[in-house]
């Protein structure tokens, strides 16, 4: 047992006694050393990959299975994948689901990977193939690969890396294959569209039908303070609001609009003055 472990003195009722200052310092030093080591390992692991292992998915780096396996080799991830299950759908399509157990340094997680024959990759986007023309083996292999990729990424916490972090390993966004989501073409749900219309209506009402004022009001309602304490500027155009941001903005503006109208429904001042 280490010195540090010896300082965890369990009392008779099972409580842990307070650690000594020396122990705290040691623990803190150990934590720092571990963080340093983990950063070294992370960088070493990223350097094991190359631009072909990463895809730019809607502006974010996505590690493909080829890269996950390379990183798993660096860390020494062990895994076992279980036989797959096949789920049949009423339209003749099917889905393969693999589960697996992934372990490293005493940590173990289970992960699931799946692929459906309905996926664009198998059916095709332009002239969708009938299910009979889809190679079932391809669907199964893709599900297996998906399970390995997900398990490794989950175990090592590689899901949320940034391009800056990848840059330290020499991987650049513009050299990776991929695509950016075209925000203007993204299909929005009808509920979000309705809420967006309602937001426009309420803002114009509160701005006495002055578009410029309505735009300023929108910017005020959508501004917020970031985690780092910095003020994040709001959006002045409705079309810049993401589907995720619409319900939040809607409820803020609805509340302000209700207050502006007053309890009897008569219109009042702009939210700036309330």
């Amino acid at each position: 047992m280490s010195d540090i472990e010896n300082n965890y003195n369990a009392t008779e009722n099972g409580n842990i006694s307070i650690l000594s200052n020396d122990t705290l310092i040691k623990l803190s030093q150990m934590a720092e050393d571990r963080v340093k080591a983990m950063n070294t390992i992370k960088l070493h692991a990223l350097k094991a990959t190359n631009k072909n292992d990463w895809v730019n998915e809607g502006g974010k780096p996505y590690l493909q299975e080829s890269g996950s396996c390379k990183i798993a080799r660096v860390f020494g991830v062990s895994y076992r994948i279980n036989p797959p299950t096949k789920q049949l759908f009423s339209d003749g399509h099917y889905e393969y689901i693999y589960t697996g157990d992934f372990s490293l340094g005493g940590a173990e997680i289970s992960a699931t990977g799946s692929r459906s024959s309905k996926g664009d990759f198998f059916v095709g986007k332009k002239d969708p193939k009938p299910v009979s023309e889809i190679d079932e083996g391809d669907v199964r292999k893709a599900a297996y690969t998906n399970c390995i990729g997900r398990g490794i990424k989950e175990l090592l916490g590689l899901g949320n890396l940034t391009w800056d972090e990848l840059g330290t390993a020499g991987i650049k966004k513009n050299e990776c294959a991929g695509f950016e989501f075209d925000k203007s073409k993204q299909e929005m749900s009808s509920e979000a569209k309705d809420q967006r219309k309602e937001i426009a209506k309420m803002l114009l009402e509160m701005a006495d039908n002055d578009k410029e004022t309505a735009s300023k009001l929108l910017a005020e309602f959508t501004a917020f303070t970031g985690r780092d304490g910095k003020e994040i500027a709001g959006k002045s155009k409705l079309e810049d609001l993401s589907e995720k941001a619409i319900p939040v903005t809607y409820s803020k503006i609805k509340k302000a609009h209700d207050e502006w109208r007053g309890p009897d429904g008569s219109s009042g001042n702009s939210p700036e003055n309330t």
Partner: protein, 308 residues
Amino acid sequence: MEAQEIVQKILDGKKKNIQVRPQYVTRASEVGFPCERYLVYSITNWRDRQPHSAETELIFEGGRVIEDLAIQDLTDAGFKVYRPEPDKACAEAKPALSGHIDVRVDFGDGKVYTGEIKGLNHIDFCKINSIYDMQHSRKPWLRKYPPQLMTYLYIKGEERGFFMLVDKLTFMPKFIWVDLDLPYMDEILQKTERVEAHIKNKTLPEQIDDPEICEKCAFAHICLPQINRAELEIIIDPALEEMLARRDELKDAASEYTEVDKAVKAKFGEREKLCIGEYVAIGKWIEKKEFTVKAQRYMMYKIQKVSG
């Protein structure tokens, strides 16, 4: 179009050429593969084979180009070169093996020798000088070469064949003569027989435990091998870290010292007593006894500094 998009289009084009074909017997080019379970799956589950990647297809295509170039080199040198059709003898062999001999050459002694042409990267090309080097390579595809050629020699009843290796960097050829090794061939035949027996009895050989092979296996998704790896250990040892940093600092100086020391000794020749400026060098003959190095296993480390 972005440069990356162009490359992607080329790779997509290559993907169209990749096909998984039926397989009925063990291939001579695969019989040296270390996993017998893979050899069984290759026949019983050929439809399940994961097609190789577009990048690998490029390497295969490059290999075919090198084969053509090598044959042209042999022809230009004035040797009689034969490019055999798929050999009937291979298909009729017992146990059954399929294969395609690259080339047969008469180098001028009236005999025709069976040969395999292999394009290798520069490092492997320099390292590989015998079939022993191939058999003991870390790379499984290099280990497959000797059984392939040996199988052709056995089937054709020939005692000698050759590897023509081509450096993919310089296109320099290298020849390795290979003599038929019957005990070695017997092991290959026994392996083929075991594979045939499993296919006949609808059984599977045991899984192997080699992550390097299993992870890249085309049948991993049906074999479901357990991948066991040694974990990366985090060592918190500031003294060791300092030593590594110092080691790094001294590395260049050490290399330079070795180089200069060698150059100095070369200039001394075998003169026993020398005075050079402020230096005096006295030589002494050292008799080194002959000894045999015992076979041993040791860990070789590649140490590198990881920095951003």
